[in-house]
Amino acid sequence: MKIEIKNVSHTYDVEVLNNLNLNLTEYKSVAIIGVSGSGKSTLIRMMSGLEKPTAGEIFINGFDVRDEQYKKKIGFVFQNHNLFPHLTLKKNITLVLEKTRGFEKAEAEEIALRNLTLLHLEDQMNKLPKNVSGGQAQRASIARALSMDPDIIFLDEPTSSLDPILTHEVLKAIEELRVLGKEFILVTHVMSFARDFADYVIFMNEGQIIEQGPPAILDSPKTIELKEFMEKVR
């Protein structure tokens, strides 16, 4: 996947991103790591086009992320599953497919069933999000993102609200998706997952990219910031 970030800055009340630049071409799965408040969630939201930067431009696979067409090429998995609470797991998928992608009911059902089965939810799909576990809801949210047949799947700390057992369950499900040949951009605080799953790692601190490279940088950090971070998360 091609990622091009040009002079991106973002300010809410304080500066969150400070003149970021990034140019990647050949990686399939990019992980962004860093402490809370380092700007990593803001960056992934900008890269997905969910939020607009106050300055700068972002191009992914040749698309300006502000382009409406780009939204059809991506899937996004939020920190908390963010399923629509009044719809069953299946309906969360079929409604979106029918209303925004123009699928017939039968086709939409088939796609939903296929993706929910892929995430081992075939016996939960007629339940409301509140009636399944956090891990199941998060997997359903991944199934929903997959059902849009995106080129790139964004995962914004998909396990941050889950306990260790559910975290393992969700990460295992994501690992299994590798065979689908999709591209991934993810924020995670689980270092072992970043190491195993990603082929490129970006470490952020105070709104800037401090260090980047293959997952091996996690084991032999060059900068003092990443070194300190790795000691804290260990």
Binding site: N80, N82, F84
Partner: protein, 242 residues
């Protein structure tokens, strides 16, 4: 089963208390003297229900307008709803009804007291309705809007499939509570001689001199309107909860 039994026991306890109080009355307790006035009283019940429903509908609309004003970008509108809310919160409904019918109405050339009575009820309920809308709409998270944006829902589709189905569920229980408030509040329209339930009974009392019985009858009749309503609320709350 245990729960149903508890409820039956609770109702029997209250009934026993009421029976005790009734039997302790010195005079003979009888509702028979109300028999000739049953048309007047029925009309009173119907009018109470009618005025309550109209006030509910009116305050639903006005409350929504006020909700929109309260979230408006224009600070003046926010301030206006704040000041209005403070005033209404501190105003007894009886005072509002009288002021509406005898002061504000005539100032605008309206001497129709019944209409001004309705209006007072509607205006009284408006801030409460505004709050109902506020809590309902704030229950839809920022991230849900992001998801709708990401999937590319049109504004119509957002409201039709995502926002309204959720908001209605949250809206219903407090709405029913407000409705119950309106029903009881409508009794104050008796000061305008509007023939609602309270007024009908008062008239009957003055003819039969059965004051205690009249109030008991009135009490029972109001309960017959409000209890099914609150039961319906509980049912909806349970069935639609998220």
């Amino acid at each position: 089963m245990n729960k149903i039994f508890s409820y039956i026991l609770a109702i029997l306890t209250i009934a026993a208390f009421v029976a005790f109080v009734v039997f302790r009355q010195s005079s003979d307790f009888s509702l028979a003297s109300f028999e000739p006035y049953k048309n007047l009283i029925s009309q009173g019940i119907l009018n109470t229900i009618y005025v309550s429903i109209m006030s509910l509908l009116g305050s639903l609309v006005l409350g929504f307008v006020f909700y929109l004003l309260s979230i408006s970008k224009l600070k003046y509108f926010n301030a206006l709803t704040d000041v209005f809310t403070e005033i209404i919160y501190g105003t007894p409904l009886l005072v509002l009804v009288v002021v509406m019918a005898f002061v504000i109405g005539p100032a605008f050339g309206t001497f129709n007291r019944n209409v001004m009575g309705f209006t007072a009820l509607i205006i009284y309920m408006t801030p409460y309705m505004k709050n109902v809308y506020k809590s309902a709409f704030s229950s839809i998270s920022e991230e849900q809007y992001m998801a709708m944006d990401l999937f590319g829902f049109t504004p119509f589709q957002r409201y039709r499939y995502i926002i309204i189905p959720q908001v209605v569920r949250i809206l219903m229980p407090p709405l029913m509570n407000n409705f119950s408030m309106i029903i009881k509040g409508s009794a104050l329209l008796n000061v305008l001689s509007y023939n609602e339930l309270y007024y009908a009974i008062r008239v009957t009392q003055s003819q039969t001199f059965a004051f205690v019985e009249g109030y008991i009858l009135m009490w029972v009749l109001y309960l017959m309107i409000t209890i099914p309503l609150s039961q319906a609320t509980k049912y909806i709350e349970k069935k639609w909860s998220l």
